[in-house]
């Protein structure tokens, strides 16, 4: 159904998110695809990446850089620290998150509802439960952004009227970046801000299992302009 459109790759979605990060924003990147965002920040733009395990100012390792085995991100991958970065305890790190000092959290999602409900911690199967920092980030970050494929592997929409999977937090998602579009979540509906080349609004609507409004006349606001 959406096969001939210029769907974005994972790296392209990451680059699209990165382009919208405001200079100076404090940003937490979730495990998996969101960590790719750090590698796509426009040259010269300073964005502060926070990792919930107690690092402010993470950066990807340089090619060939010797990793410090203790210096990892929340996904347990080796990282580096930028000049201006610092270390803090887990409790202090989550105080920062819960207290609303992280401007943007970028997370993967199984489902996002038109009300901004987020389901991304439990697949609802009998898998062993594991929540990590997802609920803290979803409840605490000033702006919650998800990045994900628009459809599941089985072709089912991930943007839904009501989540069927266990919630991570209710009414929190503000922006969604998928392989097909950039969407806002506002007033109980999805708003298409930008479609990938070759995709019509109607086809995006068909791939979205909830009300979809056309907002392509709007320029997506930068994420995380400091308002504290």
């Amino acid at each position: 159904m959406v096969t001939e459109v210029a769907a974005r790759s994972r790296e392209e979605i990451a680059a699209r998110v990165a382009a919208d990060l405001a200079p100076g924003a404090v940003v937490n990147l979730g495990i998996g695809m969101p960590t790719l965002v750090a590698g796509h920040v426009p040259a010269g733009r300073e964005v502060v990446f926070q990792s919930e395990n107690g690092v402010v100012g993470t950066r990807p390792l340089e090619p060939g850089e010797h990793p410090d085995p203790d210096l990892i991100n929340a996904g347990k991958e080796p990282i580096g620290l930028v000049a201006g970065g610092s270390y803090l305890s887990h409790a202090d790190s989550f105080a920062m998150i819960r207290g609303g000092h992280v401007d943007v959290t970028v997370m993967g999602a199984f489902e996002v509802s038109a009300a901004g409900d987020l389901a991304n911690w439990s697949s609802g199967t009998d898998a062993i439960p594991a929540v990590g920092g997802a609920m803290d980030l979803a409840a605490g970050a000033a702006t919650v952004v998800t990045m994900m494929s628009h459809l599941t592997g089985a072709g089912a929409p991930k943007l839904v009227e009501r989540c069927s999977l266990p919630l991570t937090a209710a009414g929190v998602v503000g922006r969604v970046y998928t392989d097909l579009a950039v969407l806002a979540v506002e007033g109980g509906e999805f708003v298409a801000l930008e479609l990938v080349p070759g995709l019509t609004f109607e086809r995006l609507a068909a791939a979205t299992a909830a009300a979809l409004r056309d907002g392509r006349d709007r320029v997506p606001a930068l994420l995380g302009e400091r308002r504290r």
Partner: protein, 231 residues
């Protein structure tokens, strides 16, 4: 951060730019304990600017003729939330308080710092054993936890925090000097805007990342002011 810039620079020139505009009725946290860690020049600028009906959150209620005392003298303060308003030089607080011109909310020092920490950490309220069974428990919800009476205490937040630190970089990372640290790191977390006056600006990366006390995340503006006293 200056408009349109791609890099982060929280340093500003001059105390007026650092303070920014303070609205009448604002709630302001003021760092310091006794004379240690008081953001004196920021408080002088606040006086100069003229905002009124302020609520101040601070350990003390000022002494002598400057800082919080001067704000009280000039009748800028509607309410003070503090732990220890009385001191040998707290003349202006006492005068305004006895005349019924300033409201006082007295809070045990540890409860005060924890309420500020809760405000910064997104904890809406907490149970503490401090002050249970005392006059300061009047009107507060109590609860028996672990076999002991506790009081429910609510988070404190502010529009603005004014603090002093020893050194900063352009990202607003802060380190302090000895006991002048006191309330500053916690207040920096609990205010919508935090302004720090510092003795020294250093290059980005010059502060040891293991030793940064206040990450720049919590700081909005930094101004360097030369201090007259030798450190």
């Amino acid at each position: 951060m200056s408009a349109g810039a791609e890099t982060i620079d929280k340093t500003v020139a001059g105390v007026a730019a650092a303070l920014g505009e303070v609205a009448d009725g604002a709630t302001i946290m003021v760092g310091g304990f006794g004379d240690s860690g008081i953001p004196e020049e920021l408080l002088a600028e606040l006086l100069e600017q003229g905002a009124r009906e302020l609520t101040l959150i601070a350990n003390n209620a000022g002494s002598g003729e400057s800082g919080v005392a001067a704000l009280l003298r000039e009748r800028r303060v509607r309410k003070i939330v503090c732990s220890f308003p009385r001191s040998s030089g707290s003349v202006w607080f006492e005068r305004r308080y006895r005349a019924g011109e300033v409201e006082l909310e007295i809070v045990p020092q540890g409860t005060l710092s924890e309420r500020i920490r809760a405000g910064g950490a997104g904890i809406a309220a907490f149970y503490t054993p401090t002050a249970a069974g005392t006059e300061l428990a009047a009107g507060k919800e109590t609860r028996l936890l672990d076999g002991r009476e506790h009081l429910l205490e609510h988070a404190l937040r502010a529009d603005l925090a004014l603090i002093r630190a020893r050194a900063a970089d352009r990202w607003g990372n802060l380190v302090y000097h000895t006991a002048a640290r006191n309330y500053a790191p916690t207040m920096a977390m609990a205010a919508r805007e935090t302004v720090a006056q510092v003795d020294e600006l250093v290059g980005l990366g010059d502060l040891d990342p293991e030793a940064v006390v206040t990450p720049g995340v919590y700081v909005d503006r930094v101004v360097r002011l030369r201090r007259e006293e030798a450190r």
